[in-house]
Amino acid sequence: MLSFLAKRIIQLIPTLFFVSILIFSLQHLLPGDPALVMAGEERDPDVIAHIRAQYRLDQPIPVQYIYWVKGVLAGDFGESLRIKMPVRELIAQKLPVTMQLASMAIVIAFLVGIPAGIVSAVKKGTLWDYGANLFALWGISTPNFWLGIMLIFLFSIELGWLPASGYVPLSENWRASFASTIMPAFVLGNAIAAILMRHTRSAMLQVLESDYVRTARAKGLSERSVILKHAMRNALTPVITLGALELGTLLSGAVLTEQIFSIPGFGKLIVDAVFNRDYAVVQGVVLVTATIYITLNLIADIAYILVNPRLRA
């Protein structure tokens, strides 16, 4: 177990190194000259030269990379060109918004996807199974930005139950906060619910055919007890670790959802930054997202081993 953990962590070092190179190169991939963008309306060559020197843009790219990595390791992601605020503060401001959205989405996904998967497996070949499979196909095939628009039309414009856009922080008013995030959370959770349903179904089907479930049935246990105590516990382990991984995927899905519902989170921050050529923000957001994703991956791996005694040896 310890050697696995050590190996897994050592593997992270080159991955993070390549992630940092990829993200740093985004600055050079985005259109436009950073110095000109920073200068704004100012076209004085002296000012532009000063900016180049100040941000080390006049240095060779590898040198710029080393300075950038040094800064990142010290928690300094640079400063936003547009908002004139340290990127670290911007991230600290926006990340909780997206995390609230992602957490609500994952709860919705678990509440819908896992029961649907269990019912589908237990009642294989019945209308319940077909219904759950249709739901899964619907979930993975619906573009979340279209679903968002349709939900706004139904619940905000037609019924007037929920606000169409905007965000109220949880600390300000929890009811208003819930109302402002429930639709985007559902949009985000919908696709994940479908994925979880499919995984739960296939894991349950596999477990229901195993020897120990057959033994439990032979002992005369009730079907309810067989499913809830014997089958479900074993089937859900990989599904729950998968759910942890999907939390990382949600950060990507949040990009369009936040755009549609005008939620000032991580997703909206990166889209605005790309359009404003706000390099430091793009780099910071992508780096934090990638780090969250890698960390969740590691946690999921460890959790999988911890709950599966056969893999511990």
């Binding site: 080159p14 259109p31 930005f145 628009i149 369009l256 549609i260 793009v282 992508v286």
Partner: protein, 297 residues
């Protein structure tokens, strides 16, 4: 009919099944799945609509008319008109071109780049494998859409560039899949036999390994086309894909969002089109997976 004659027919049937090629068997199995058949029909319909769009559309999809601004669906304009008085049906049909092309070309790019690297990584192993694997991990750690947005912004907003951006962002999936498949296949007896016969490495990889990993690649390619169509629509929605006035389902949805109160039909049809095409590719992908899965045989 006599028993002897029936036995002869049964024997002939059995022999025909034995002689059936793997591709034909997979096709037969695919066509036995109702969902996959429905998916194939819908995809074929959209392909025909896209190909013959100029002869099918009732009105020019980019012709504006100030007297027809935001008209609801009617006998003249089945899907209604948009904010510039353009016929939505025509724009949805022409939009199929952008979406299907984006799906096919971006996945083509991902296959073209990802499969050779995956083959190299899985077959050679060692340092090259470690290097390619870590780069793949790094790319997979950056959220797909965020990477595609950043690349599309770098390349400049256009449909072609959106396809390249989606293709590059999809590539690591194919590298990882190919590598995994090669690792499984390369220890098979027939690969050992090919090696023992003195075949060069490139020949073993191309002619002995690649054909045997094709089923997995085909399934993933079909599912990736669905994801690429959504990604293209997302980029066009953000203004990074197909540029106006050329029709695209994503950009149509972007425009529709501003007129949701007065003209909800503007959002309904392009979204429904994306949903139908993506659903169909997912159905075909699922069907292919079942048809090509050796455990099903």
């Amino acid at each position: 009919m006599t028993d002897a004659a029936l036995t002869t027919i049964r024997l002939a049937d059995g022999r025909a099944n034995e002689l059936e090629s793997p591709a034909r068997r997979a096709l037969r199995r695919l066509l036995q799945r109702k969902g996959a058949v429905v998916g194939l029909i819908v995809i074929a319909t959209f392909i025909m609509l896209a190909l013959f769009a100029p002869w099918i559309v009732p009105y020019d999809p980019i012709a504006t008319s100030w007297t027809l601004v935001r008209k609801p669906p009617s006998a003249l304009h089945w899907f209604g008109t948009d904010e510039l008085g353009r016929d939505i049906l025509g724009r949805v049909i022409y939009g199929a071109r952008a979406s299907l092309m984006a799906g096919a070309i971006s996945v083509g790019i991902a296959l073209g780049v990802g499969v050779p690297f995956g083959l190299l990584s899985g077959y050679r192993g060692g340092f090259i494998d470690a290097l390619i694997s870590r780069i793949t991990d790094a790319m997979l750690a950056c959220p797909f859409l965020i990477l595609a947005i950043a690349l599309a912004a770098f390349l400049g907003p256009s449909l072609g560039n959106a396809m390249i951006a989606i293709g590059i962002s999809t590539t690591p999936i194919f590298v990882r899949l190919t590598r995994g498949q090669v690792m499984t296949v390369k220890v098979e007896d027939y690969v050992e036999a090919a090696r023992a016969m003195g075949n060069p490495r490139w020949r073993i990889a191309l002619f002995h390994i690649l054909p045997n990993i094709m089923p997995a690649l085909l399934v993933q390619a079909t599912l990736s086309i669905a994801a690429a169509i959504i990604a293209e629509a997302a980029l066009s929605f953000l203004g990074l894909g197909q540029q106006p006035p050329a029709p695209s389902w994503g950009s149509m949805l972007n425009a529709a969002q501003r007129f949701l109160t007065n003209a909800p039909w503007m959002a309904l049809w392009p979204g429904l089109a994306i949903f139908l095409v993506v659903l169909s590719f997912n159905l075909v992908g699922d069907g292919l997976r079942d048809a090509l899965d050796p455990r099903q045989r």
